[in-house]
Amino acid sequence: MQKIKKNNGITETSEMERNDGIPFDINYIKGLRVNKSAVERRAATIGKRRSVKKEWQAAWLLRAVTCIDLTTLSGDDTPSNVQRLCAKAQNPVRHELLKAMGMHKMGITTGAVCVYHNLISDAKKALKGSNIPIAAVSTAFPAGLIPLTERLKQIELSVAAGAMEIDIVIHRQQVLTGDWEGLYNEMKLMRKACGPAHMKTILATGELSTLTNVAKASHVCMMAGADFIKTSTGKEKINATLPVSLTMIRAIRDYYEYTGYKVGFKPAGGIGKAKQALSWLMLIKEELGDEWLNNELFRFGASSLLGDIERQLEHFVTGRYSAAYRHPSS
């Protein structure tokens, strides 16, 4: 891998310089190795070595809320449920709970809302006046198996419709057959198609077979200029897991060390509990550092997580275990 802007081993760049990518380097990709059992051991102990309680837990959960890409990706999505989703994104936690925690003036919202292309305009209407970005899944999500030209066109349409973030899927075939350069070239084109919108590449790790493949795909996407790398579509049999996340996080760390570019991370699918969210935040804090603990560099792709966090926050405030119906639905 070429070392760009190298300065004493670690490159110093401005806080949020966008990843422009670097030239493709097959030798670097071929040299990557991930030892699964060792990664699993680390992942299994992260939530045991670290624990946040009381005020710390509340604050961390609120931070998690701000990192959620509040998502609906269903065949039966209509303007009305997207509108509710957008309302929830703007007011994710009940006001009096925020007030009790002294957080009501902090402008707590979710990180983004995430919808299919056809719902972008509805989301845009519903989010008018807020700063919440719209993320759209694209490139024949979730399988991606249509011609490249069509996929690129989709991206352009979504950007034109107002999406500020494009969650694209990679061609799993390119990973499974080792066509890394092909993957790089497609990603480059997609990144170009995204223009000013951020490109979040979904690796669909549940279909990549090995963690070594996950690491390789992560690096290829980053080399091609991904702004975020994301675990899953939420539609695979296995979605975000801690070992997969750890592998991707470490790839991000290595890429940063070599290029100075900070790439974001988004685990998606299967994260429905507040406690899980804390484990992910701890993993990020431990392996990437505090700079990644915000929604510019970290997102949860989740639909039900927020509900559990709300209940935990109410429990913190009142000391009583909460019920779902006490919190406004999306």
């Binding site: 081993g9 030892n35 059992s37 946040v52 604050a59």
Partner: protein, 795 residues
């Protein structure tokens, strides 16, 4: 506002585990404990008590009895009294008790975990997730062995009353490793916990009470070194099991020499952590965290010497340092820490002094900026780079959170550096190349090898070391033999077994002209050698007939023989089948010289020719026995943790000294030497002193049997003198002796220096002419050590 601030900084906060239940338990005992003897709590005869301190905050937790010699006597007496009934209770009865102990430990697991964490200073995460679950697992596993003893180990019996002395680094786990197998195999015991950490042992005593364990089966005496010494020296103790420092282990080895006490020692280490350039370096970093910063580095098998392939060294160091910056050190009951407190002020001083020495000797030190509490005994994680093997901290065990790093160029160099230590406990090998891992694992001197993992334990696998890390295994099938003795040992005689003497003097020849003078030489490195000293001994039969002359070997001959044995790399590398072929060939050649050998025996012992012929035939049959086993006495794959293949592999000990029985000049030689070489050892043999010529005849057989030079080296002469030279030789790894008390004691005592494996008969004599006594798997077990290689899998 607090939440807002945390929201902005995303800092960690305190996450304390409550000490309440543990404090209540201490209070229930008025924070003062007697010792546990014969099912009762006794106050110490010394009337002395000492404090147990929480090293995280220096608070006194409780007063502990300082048991004296009288108290130890009482406990041993109780254990001795309880023994017959405990043995008679049988497999199933003992299994029920062990099962109950396992269950009770699980039911009270958090109390044990919190108490252990407070008493020792190790993090609650470790006691809760590692120590206590392993304790329960150990009792479950051995409840199984108790149940199976009658069927699986029916040729073995209990050792008797066992004395056990354990360290402070894993207080309850080491107790479990000692007590579970001892009880399962029908022994009763007296155990002394370390003075810094007696509390969980006392809670365990309470649990023994609760499950109704018969009085006297388990006795827990608390105290200091003098208490331990009283156990070690007690005449009614049949076995000592010790885990602790090599220094104390050596004292115990010397103190028990010649006493006939069985001994297992699990001692110090300076275990290598070998990283090849193809390893997943991020995973390596976490491996290092688990290797040297687990339990503050106070782990006998801690991977304390990092050996990293030169090309990736700087990259790895950078990653380690980055990880160190994320360390959290604090009160042991905080659930958000990586490391707790060092057990005691004295240990903290030892660590600081050694680190200073490392700096003075030119090492580059790195300690992270993470805050380290000052209230208790804390020490930050420490990395030394630019360390040469000659540095003090590269050789000496620090027993603290200090890693020393060195680089290597090739895997051959990695193995060389890994083995450049007096210790040999554990090793960790990191590579994604299975060929590399499985080549290096057998070549590293260690009892436990972890591939791409470290500090993984399970009751089903043996743990223990070689060299000065001690001997014996704890856990698994191999560990049971530390707490059993073969039943056949009861039939050994108090005097050597003698063949019936012939009615008249046996004549070798009746030639009318004098026979040609024969010179029996020694046999070293595949060559016949004259003795260095130039002296020979005249050999006579029991009736005074002159038989011939044998070389009088001396220390230089021994030196040469040991060197020749080490120079032979081919024998140990042969697979069992190839060794068997050589053994069969020896038997074949003996058969063709049967008459000649029989005549020699007949003359040497003055026995009838048919009696002598029988000895030759038995010898041939014995060789067949070991040749048959050569490719069958193999290892196991232990059923341990998920996703892991744990290979228990018998390995040769190395260079062994075999002091043959003085009786049975041919059969004794064969019975002692053949099993040793069957397992791939190279041997230096001192044959029968009174009838050495059978051995010198034997080398002619060796010369014609494709035995590689240096496999068997024969030095004739005075057995006691030569045995002492061999026992004192630091490049001899094991020594066997089949004779009287005096030499047995000398060998055990002298061997303490390099902790060579000893097997001496202490004046108990086998009848070599009896298959049950003269051969068996015990010979092969004594000629080998089990190495457990842990190989996790998954892609």
């Amino acid at each position: 506002m607090k939440i807002k601030k945390i929201f902005e900084t995303m800092e960690y906060g305190p996450a304390p585990e409550s000490p309440k239940a543990a404090l209540n338990w201490l209070e229930k005992h008025n924070n003062k404990f007697g010792y546990y003897c014969n099912g009762k709590w006794e106050q110490p005869s010394t009337k002395k008590y000492f404090n147990s301190i929480n090293p995280s905050n220096k608070n006194v937790l409780a007063e502990i009895s300082h048991a004296g010699e009288k108290d130890v006597n009482k406990a041993v007496k109780a254990a001795k009294k309880a023994l017959p009934k405990w043995v008679k209770l049988g497999s199933h009865g003992r299994a029920r008790y062990l099962y109950a102990l396992a269950r009770q430990i699980q039911k009270h697991s958090r109390l044990f975990a919190v108490l252990e964490s407070m008493d020792n200073g190790k993090s609650i995460r470790e006691t809760r997730d590692i120590d206590i679950p392993l304790v329960a697992r150990h009792f479950y596993h051995h409840a199984g062995w108790a149940q199976l003893m009658d069927t699986e180990l029916k040729d073995y019996k209990e050792v008797g009353v066992v004395g056990q002395i354990i360290p402070w680094n894993f207080p309850l786990l080491m107790l479990a490793w000692k007590i579970a197998p001892a009880l399962a195999m029908g022994n009763t015991l007296v155990l002394k916990p370390a003075e810094f950490t007696s509390l969980t042992a006392l809670l365990f005593a309470e649990i023994c009470d609760q499950v109704g364990l018969p009085a006297g089966v388990v006795n827990i005496v608390t105290g200091f070194g003098d208490t331990g010494a009283a156990i070690v020296n007690h005449p009614d103790i049949d076995k000592i099991a010790f885990t602790g420092s090599t220094e104390v282990g050596r004292i115990i080895r010397k103190a028990t020499a010649g006493s006939g006490k069985k001994l297992s020692l699990e001692l110090g280490g300076k275990s290598p952590f070998i990283v090849f350039e193809d390893a997943d370096l991020d995973s390596v970093v976490e491996g290092i965290v688990n290797a040297i910063w687990f339990n503050q580095g106070q782990v006998c098998c801690a991977g304390s010497r990092l050996l990293v392939q030169e090309g990736v060294a700087e990259k790895l160091y950078r990653k380690i340092k980055a990880r160190m910056e994320h360390f959290r050190i604090g009160d042991s009951l905080d659930k958000c820490i990586d490391m707790g407190a060092i057990v005691d002020e004295s240990q903290l001083k030892t660590i600081s002094n050694l680190v200073q020495k490392g700096i003075d000797e030119g090492g580059e030190i790195y300690q992270p900026k993470c805050p380290c509490p000052t209230e208790g005994y804390f020490y930050p994680p420490t990395l030394f780079t630019n360390i040469s093997p000659s540095a003090t901290i590269a050789q000496q065990e620090i027993f603290g959170p200090v890693l020393v790093a060195m680089t290597f160029r090739t895997h051959a160099e990695a193995i060389k550096l890994a083995n450049n230590t007096r210790y040999g406990l554990a090793a960790s090998i990191w590579t994604d190349n299975i060929n590399m891992a499985l080549e290096v694992a057998p070549k590293v001197k260690a009892g436990v090898v972890w591939v791409n993992c470290t500090n993984v334990f399970d009751a089903a696998a043996g743990f223990g070391g070689c060299r000065e890390s001690g001997f014996g295994r704890e856990g698994g099938r191999e560990g049971l033999h530390e707490y059993t003795i073969p039943r056949i040992n009861d039939s050994f005689g108090k005097k050597p077994f003698q063949l019936p003497v012939a009615k008249k003097v046996v004549e070798l020849t009746n030639n009318t002209i004098p026979s040609i003078d024969r010179t029996a030489k020694m046999y070293i490195g595949g060559k016949q050698c004259r003795p260095d000293g130039g002296y020979s001994n005249r050999i006579y039969s029991p009736t005074g007939q002159y038989i011939g002359e044998a070389s009088a070997g001396n220390r230089k001959d021994i030196r040469n023989a040991v060197e020749a044995a080490h120079a032979n790399g081919s024998w140990g590398a042969k697979p069992g089948h190839a060794r068997a072929q050589v053994l069969y060939y020896i038997a074949e050649n003996m058969e063709s010289r049967k008459h000649e050998l029989a005549l020699r025996i007949a003359a040497s012992l003055n026995v009838e020719i048919d009696v002598a012929t029988e000895e030759v035939e038995l010898s041939i049959e014995r060789i067949y026995y070991y040749a048959a086993l050569a490719d069958k006495y193999d290892g196991r794959v232990h059923n341990t943790v998920a996703g892991n293949i744990t290979i228990a592999m018998p390995e040769s000990i190395g260079v062994m000294a075999v002091i043959c029985p003085d009786e049975a000049p041919l059969l004794g030689f064969v019975s002692a030497v053949i099993p040793a070489i069957t397992m791939g050892n190279n041997v230096v043999v001192v044959p029968s002193e009174t009838s050495p010529l059978l051995a010198t005849d034997f080398y002619q057989i060796l010369e014609t049997s494709d035995v590689p030079a240096g496999t068997i080296n024969i030095v004739t002469g005075n057995q006691a003198e030569l045995a002492e030279v061999l026992a004192k030789h630091d490049d001899v790894d094991g020594i066997w002796y089949f004779g009287g008390n005096k030499v047995s004691k000398m060998i055990e005592h002298t061997s303490a220096e390099n902790m060579k494996r000893t097997w001496v008969s202490n004046g108990k004599y086998r009848n070599w002419y009896n298959h049950e006594q003269g051969q068996g798997e015990e010979f092969l077990r004594r000629a080998s050590d089990i190495k457990n290689i842990w190989v996790p899998y998954g892609e």
